[in-house]
Amino acid sequence: ANWDKVLQNIYQYYMNETPQRTKLIDVFLAFIAVVGALQFLYCILAGNYPFNAFLSGFGATVGQFVLTISLRIQTAAANKSDFPEVSPERAFADYVVCSLILHFFCVNFIN
């Protein structure tokens, strides 16, 4: 099979099957990914001297990224069967708690 067809199919599937709320989450994800990539680029270009600052900034983006993906997974209707005990509201509350913990650690680590 050829690659552009594969990509086209994925795009089509995404556009048609994803609900509005999830797309909103995806925009946030894209934003985090861009921020993380920029930080990494800056680290490569300008050196990593306050290494803890780089790590906490980058760790915050990575951590927030995976937490948001976890939220996205748990709120998607297709994954209902995987999480019988996690309602979307519960998922959101968990997300808030985890993000708070994450940011506490990052702020503490950045000094």
């Binding site: 199919n9 599937y13 995404y14 995976v66 976890s70 748990q74 519960r90 680590f109």
Partner: protein
Amino acid sequence: MAVETPKGPALGYTTESTRALFRVVILCFIAAAAIASRLFSVIRFESIIHEFDPWFNFRATKYLVANGFHKFWDWFDDRTWHPLGRVTGGTLYPGLMVTSGAIYHALKTLTVPVDIRNICVLLAPACSGLTAFATYLLTNEMTTSPSAGLLAAIFMGIAPGYISRSVAGSYDNEAIAIFLLVFTFYLWIKALKLGSMLWGALCALFYGYMVASWGGYAFITCLLPVHALTLICMGRYSSRLYVSYTTWYALGTLASMQIPFVGFLPIKTSEHMPALGIFGFIQLIGFIEYVRSAISGRQFQTFLVTILVATFGLGLLGLVGLTSLGYIAPWSGRFYSLWDTGYAKIHIPIIASVSEHQPTAWPSYFFDLNFLVWLFPAGVYLCFQELRDEHVFVVVYALFGSYFSGVMVRLMLTLTPVVCVAAAMSASQILDTYLSWKSVVPAEEQEAPKKVRGGLRGVEKPNVGIYSPLTKVLVSGSILVYLLMFVSHCTWVTSNAYSSPSVVLASRMPDGSQHIIDDYREAYQWLRQNTKEDAKIMSWWDYGYQIGGMADRPTLVDNNTWNNTHIATVGKAMSSREEVSYEIMRQHEVDYVLVVFGGLLGYSGDDINKFLWMVRIAEGIWPDEVKERDFFTSQGEYRVDEGATDTMKNSLMYKMSYYNYASLFPPGQAADRVRQVRVPDQGPVINTIEEAYTSENWIIRIYKVKDLDNIGRDHVNAAAFERGQKKKKPTKKRGARVLRVD
């Protein structure tokens, strides 16, 4: 005990609450048993800190309580490693001290002022009760059997493999770490089962606490990724795994980096790379899973193969490249010696010199785990029968735990929890099968066979089950006997093997009464009261923490062996001739030298028996000046009697140990009770130091380093002059002299 619970319904107490009550009562009993069985040494001797390492933890805790948290966090300790000092805040795991400090302050607010020493002594027993509870929770995640959790809790509560490191007074990191280990595993299993972020975050928080407490956290750091990888390889990837693992890793890694001692290690060392690698891998798998639902099978295959091969290859290449370029540190020596078991002995004698770092012998498995050791494989086998995600965890943990415990004695400790869990699963399986009083066949079916008795036998469904009460009684009775034997074995082992405080030595008088040999504290107390506040004590590193803790004097080296060269310096001073050692001691401002000598009492852990390690460690740095070969006779024997080599007889350690020793005995009968040899009547002569103190049973001998001679002679001449050994007839001849330069 646990046998009672399944009987509940049969007796008519069917309510859930009665069972819950039973459980609570049983768990309380278990916690009480776990605590009580650890108190032998407190009751027999006194409430005192044992061993060596706990003395430092105790000292640090006292500092924390006295000076507050912030001072403790940047504590520069100038009373250890004398010329260098130690940045203590950045080189310890603060979890233990902070925990007992918090307990101290909590009790104080509750107006129950307890001495910090008692909190430190009793912290390990208290945590063992919690460990039993955590094991209960963990086991309940594994099986539906009502008795398994309780059995595991009592196993964990009294198993000697865990008691050995957590008796009252053993104020070591493991005291709290095993509870955190088991509880982190419980939270991980819970997070994995529910796929919940909150449980993942809790797991990360307790992982962070574990990192703050014990260097063994790397075991968790490696075990969870291995579990995740195993699940992925078994085709059991689920979004629950994604959620729990990534939450744990993202939060847990940041949490672990908050500890100054750990710092950037989670990014930079090879021990932490599995976790990072699986974190990346699981992102990839998650993405692939998403794409799989988006496109058709044929297209997906091309996609999958390309992506998988590319990223996996790239990741591996990157890891290898970064490691060989030096961005990621290779395995540290202590870890590496777990894989290459001969490594430490050849390259790092200081690791090999610790007795806990030896391979485990078979009997110690039976000694530490009794009948759990053969129920353990059965439990792991049972996990295979119903292989859910959490059972894979038990299998993986069992595999790794067994391997590591076989390599190193002290890692028996990390094996014990999984042994208790697996053994409880198999024991409860047996009990559940043989103790069910319900008949296996439902009532109406029991009637059925009578009616069709005339029919074909092959048509009847065979009733598989245990009917005979005799079998039930026999099997469950024998299990009960084993359980009882386990309890008595544990009590016996704890009482006899693991409850001696090593600071005081107990011996028996001929009439059976106990005789306490308290030389250590006697000598340390002498140092505390009769020397200057800042008198530097040189001793072998084993006693560094105790001197710091009990005598409260600065030491040159201690049990935190962070500077090998400094230890080798002390080793060189101990193993060289007096003139050489004197120079070293002057350079390091040593005031007193302390040696441990067990020759009079037959105390085998003395410095002469450790002497070869000092020589080896010194030889690693100064191969030209200290040679191990010189301490052996030409037949290759290590002797201390007449036949000892000159190097041995002239070494400072030999002289300090045997100085004046022969004068204790009638002529010709001076004997060393450890080496079982007769020592020469003419004892060694020492010139540069003088005996300052010798304890009652000659276990500790303390020497004072002499000041420089007043009129500039060297000490050998000065001492010879003092003894009146000057030459009778001073030679008139002019000796060979050198030109005066100044």
